[in-house]
């Protein structure tokens, strides 16, 4: 265990930040350009996990466990969100036979 921590600390922090930024950007772009609700959903998960990665990296870097504990909270939250979100998507599919978010444009002036 000691070795693992040291090995992780061996990786420079910049690499983690860069990787997280890339994953987060992929998530944002996915949300912006995709029309399938499930894919948008997955992109959101990507963004969440990019943040998780960053939190763990900083946690190790500072030798402080609270960052990792926070990650558990985010995971629990993400799980709950997925449960509700998927249920909504299922209902949307049942009503419109599609998961295209552009069809759902009834809520407007």
């Amino acid at each position: 265990m000691e070795n693992v921590t040291q090995a992780l600390q061996g990786v420079p922090l910049n690499h983690y930040i860069l990787l997280s930024a890339i994953i987060f950007a992929i998530g944002v772009i996915g949300v912006l350009i995709r029309r399938n609700a499930i894919v948008i959903f997955m992109s959101i998960e990507l963004m969440l996990n990019a943040v998780n990665l960053l939190l763990t990296a900083f946690s190790v870097h500072h030798n402080d466990a609270s960052g990792q504990i926070f990650v558990f909270f985010i995971m629990a939250l993400a799980a709950a969100e997925v449960a509700v979100g998927l249920a909504i998507i299922v209902m949307i599919f049942r009503n419109t036979n599609s998961t295209d978010v552009n069809i759902l444009n009834k809520l407007k002036w």
């Binding site: 944002v28 949300v31 912006l32 029309r35 978010v101 552009n102 759902l104 444009n105 009834k106 809520l107 407007k108 002036w109």
Partner: protein, 635 residues
Amino acid sequence: MINLVWLVPLFPLIGFLINGLGRNTLSKSVIGLTGCLAVLASFIVSLGIFIELNASNTKSFIVPLFDWISAGTVKIPFSFMVDPLSALMLLIVTGIGFLIHLYSTGYMSHDAGFGKFFSYLNLFIFFMLLLVLGSNYVIMFIGWEGVGLCSYLLIGFWYTNSSYASAAKKAFIMNRIGDLGFLIAVFLIFTTFNSVEFAVIFPQAASMLAGDRALIIITSLLFVGAIGKSAQLPLFTWLPDAMAGPTPVSALIHAATMVTAGIYMIARSNILFTLAPQTLHVIAIVGLATLLLAATIAVTQNDIKKVLAYSTVSQLGYMFLGLGVGAYTGAFFHVITHAFFKALLFLGAGSVIHAMSNEQDMRNMGGLKKKLPVTFLTMMIGTIAIAGLPPFSGFFSKDEILAHVYEHNQLFWVLGVIGAVFTSFYMFRMMFLTFNGSFRGTTAQEHHLHESPSSMTIPLIVLAVLSVIGGFIGIPEIFGGGHWLQNFLSPVFAVSAGKMPHLTLDHSTEFILMAVSVAGALGAMLFAYQKYVKKGEVPAEDRIERGTLARLSYNKYYIDEIYASLITRPLDSLSGFFHKVVDKKGIDGLVNGFGKGAIEASKSFRLLQSGMVGFYIFMMVFGIVALLVYSMYKI
């Protein structure tokens, strides 16, 4: 018994609650019984208090009930004051109140609002008793406002008639003007004496110098209050209009009790007024002007209740004249006797109106003597009493006032006697027009004519007896009387009496003064007899042109019209301006403008709400990035 004084206002309050809550469910006999018994119980307790007070050596009792307002240095207890003045007033209010309740059971028996009427009447008695009993100006003010409210409710009792409803509003608004004066006076009293308790203020005031500026301002404002409530110039026009109410109300509120509240209040605060001689002078002049004005109006009125209403205004003028010359006992004496004979006259008029199927115009009456013997006899007694013919009650009280006036200012006395002559004339004119000659109404009315039931005639008889003997409580020395009333009230007016010059008329002068006023009254009576019985004249129809003086008097000196053009109409147009321009255009325009502006502005912005989720997310991301850039570079 004195410690039980709180029972006196409690009974009518209970009566009010029972009748007010059960006005639709209780039967008329239960309502009438509750209303009468409540006041009768108060009367019995008042009688006990009076007897105990008369026997007691201490003449002023304060009965505390509870601490009412207590904030810092302000302490206003809810307590009652029993002294000769309030004890006598209690007897008048509850005694005459009971008779009028009894009368109302007959008079109002056909009215749909029977329960409502009795609950209002009981409420009025309650407030009047608070006014009389309060041991400080604040409790007096509660009663003062309360009787004004009841007066409003009862004038507008038949509120479906819009002219009655506006008469009620007129009375209420005119009273409000006076009440403002009273209220400011109470504030000033508090700042000057640091208390509103009578027992604290009066000893303090007694040590002040006569003509003290604070006292003059306070008394002037108190007098403004009295002007409103007791219908003096220039606020008297509400009282004649108040005759819109049922006749028992006119008798109780607008003749016997409420309108004398102003006199009671001044008599109660007599030491303040004694030390403000300038205010007293103004009071005397206002009283004199009112009595002459009202008396000259009364001589041409044809509505039986209007004659009595102007007569009331005029008699109130006498009381103020008496107060103004420092004859507090005389003024209060006149309050008592006036309560007897004016209540009697109003109830008699009510009996006539009842018999005449709600006809009030004397030109359509005449010859009722045979048909209404009891009413005729009792009203005749009342008329003789008010005309001031000895030995009826009005003679003693009026001549006591006039004797004091003579000593104070002889010109005032001459004018006062002229007023008395007018009084005698218009009262006998009313009697002769109503009861003598031949019947001038319709045959349907003639067929319906009947003497009133005994519930109405008994109060008339009792009041007639009181009108005859009421004066004997104050027989002056020259008739060998001890003037019981003066002795009884002397504790109340003792301090004032010490600061005023004493009556120094010798007996022969006093006899001459009396003889002159009695002769004047008799002459006026004979003149009225000549004119209306011997010649059988009947006042002209409205459309016939009258002489200048008669027209002025008949149209009440156009005072209502003058008020309308000087005050009401300018106020109307001012409020019209505020309504149409300031409110509608200004305030409404501003508020509506905000709404319209928001709608116009959002017309283009709301297109952003396109319903496209992608667009929303894009805008969100764009916003986040913008914030990020902003925070990084602090653009």
